[in-house]
Amino acid sequence: MMALHFKSQRGNFDFDVALNLPVLGTLGIYGPSGAGKSTLLNMIAGITKPDTGYLTLDHQALFHSENRINTPIHKRHIGLVFQDSRLFPHLTVKDNLCYGYRLLAPAERRLGFAQIVELLELTPLLEQKPHALSGGQKQRVALGRALLTSPRLLLMDEPLASLDTRLKQQILPFLRRIKNELNIPMIYVSHAIDEILYLTSEIAMIDQGRLLTQGVFHEVMQQIPALSLAQSLGLENVLHGQVQAHLPDEGYTVTTLGGQLLRIPLIRAAIGEAVSVSIAASNVALSRQKIEGVTIQNQLAGMVLDIQTIQHKTLVTIQLENSNAHLMAEVTANSVQHLQLQPKSKLYCLIKTQSIHPLAILE
């Protein structure tokens, strides 16, 4: 459980965010650069002190301006992973990993060294110094180092922002492993919605120092302020499927999504393995009938849930057939009229294989 309300005024930046999370699982914090996402994280961690407000974690007050409570960073037991990995340059990977672990009483160590090293596949790196590591390896070590303090909450501040797409694809599966295997509450900050949706659909949206909305992604997307923000950042759908077959000659991999087939660019993954892909809302076209004789290979059946118009763009939210997955399509108001779309209309979502991006690939 976490409840907080932080207020702070720094120059022209007015920050006022309240969050109430009865159950703390994995929360994504989404918003543009400069929105105050890192400020929020730093306040939770204890790095930045709010002017006024409070922070309660698991019924323990960590900050309360009126009661003059401000637990120092090192006593909060909150793990942090920064965009720049902040490894100690004079220590080996092993000593970096053990830095916080050694400061814990053995009884407080809920995660073992061997367990984390194995989970993050760090064995070959243990004797290296940070300057010899790639950006992706550094982030894995930083993750391991934070996890080995057995934190009661793990904060991640754009941990993939400095990595290229290929490295991102390599790190994302580790983040999901942490979520699925370690049972540590996480707050994941990013301006990339696909990264967040890969991990969780619970999101909080922040813009200009204010919380716009909080909740399950596709519900939050029904709200105009959230929607307009998401649109300005580039709206992405994330779908989770299973690998069915590889067709290398034709250059694609077939996945199943609740009984429907989705052809994605060829990836290396075992048959039956789970795979996540992102599709920009602007790359989804709509049709009332199945179309024969087109180059678009994916035609997913679904039903309109909601239609929202903002500025001159219209966003249609579709529930896919035989699945609880949602897909958003960005179309023109004109075409909505032309197709006579309304909630509960049945339709097909047309998606080019090449516009689909696999999100996480383990090599």
Binding site: F82, D84, F88
Partner: protein, 226 residues
């Protein structure tokens, strides 16, 4: 090159003074430099200025005020006498106290630079891993400031060896007590003993050159590493 027993005595005294001053400053200046590197306090400008004063003041001015403060009628002198101790001017102890102030910036500034270059991000990272400020200092800041410590200690040592004006004002010229090498050279020149002055001067010249050479090669090696 011929050095007299008096020369050896002066050299020994000089090295003793420089060692004691370096050690005392290491203990006093480290927390001061750490505070200066981290603080947002308004007193920072004032304290930094105070620390830097010996860089611009003529040593004789510094020595003069020390003489007044430590002398029998000065505030420190009276306190010392009230405790039943010997007055400090013209003693080795007085020389040490004056030298500590005189060499203060040479210890504080390299340390402060080294501490600042560690950066708040790494300190935050250490704190988030459960480290107290003390633990962070000894496990992260100090090891990363190794070159800063070496530079600060060498500069302090060499600068203390090279002082003259302060010594003459507060220490005078007592063989075996306050007559350090620089004063000994002055004595030789006064007595027109140029060859003796040469021997001691050349020794200090070579010593200073070698020491500075070590510092600069250390720095360029560190720059190459990063």
């Amino acid at each position: 090159m011929h050095l007299s027993p008096a020369d050896y005595q002066a050299i020994y005294l000089t090295l003793k003074l420089a060692s004691v001053v370096t050690l005392i400053l290491l203990i006093l200046a480290t927390p001061l430099a750490w505070w200066l590197a981290r603080t947002d306090s308004r007193a920072k400008g004032f304290i930094s200025t105070f620390v830097a004063m010996p860089l611009v003041l003529p040593p004789s001015v510094l020595g003069f005020y020390f003489l007044l403060a430590l002398g029998p009628n000065g505030p420190v002198g009276e306190a010392v006498q009230a405790l039943g101790w010997q007055a400090l001017p013209f003693t080795f102890g007085g020389l040490v106290i004056a030298s500590v102030f005189y060499s203060l910036p040479f210890m504080v500034q390299p340390l402060q630079n080294a501490f600042e270059s560690v950066g708040k991000p790494l300190l935050d990272a250490a704190a988030s891993l459960g480290a107290t400020a003390w633990h962070t200092f000894f496990t992260v800041v100090a090891p990363l400031s190794k070159t800063g410590f070496i530079t600060a200690m060498i500069l302090t040592f060499v600068h203390t060896i090279g002082e003259f004006g302060v010594v003459l004002m507060i220490g005078g010229n007592i063989p075996g007590v306050t007559r350090v090498a620089s004063v000994q050279i002055y004595d030789h020149v006064e007595a027109l003993e140029y060859s003796e002055a040469h021997a001691l001067s050349a020794l200090m010249l070579v010593f200073s050159f070698v020491v500075l050479l070590i510092i600069y090669s250390l720095r360029s090696r560190k720059a190459a590493e990063s």
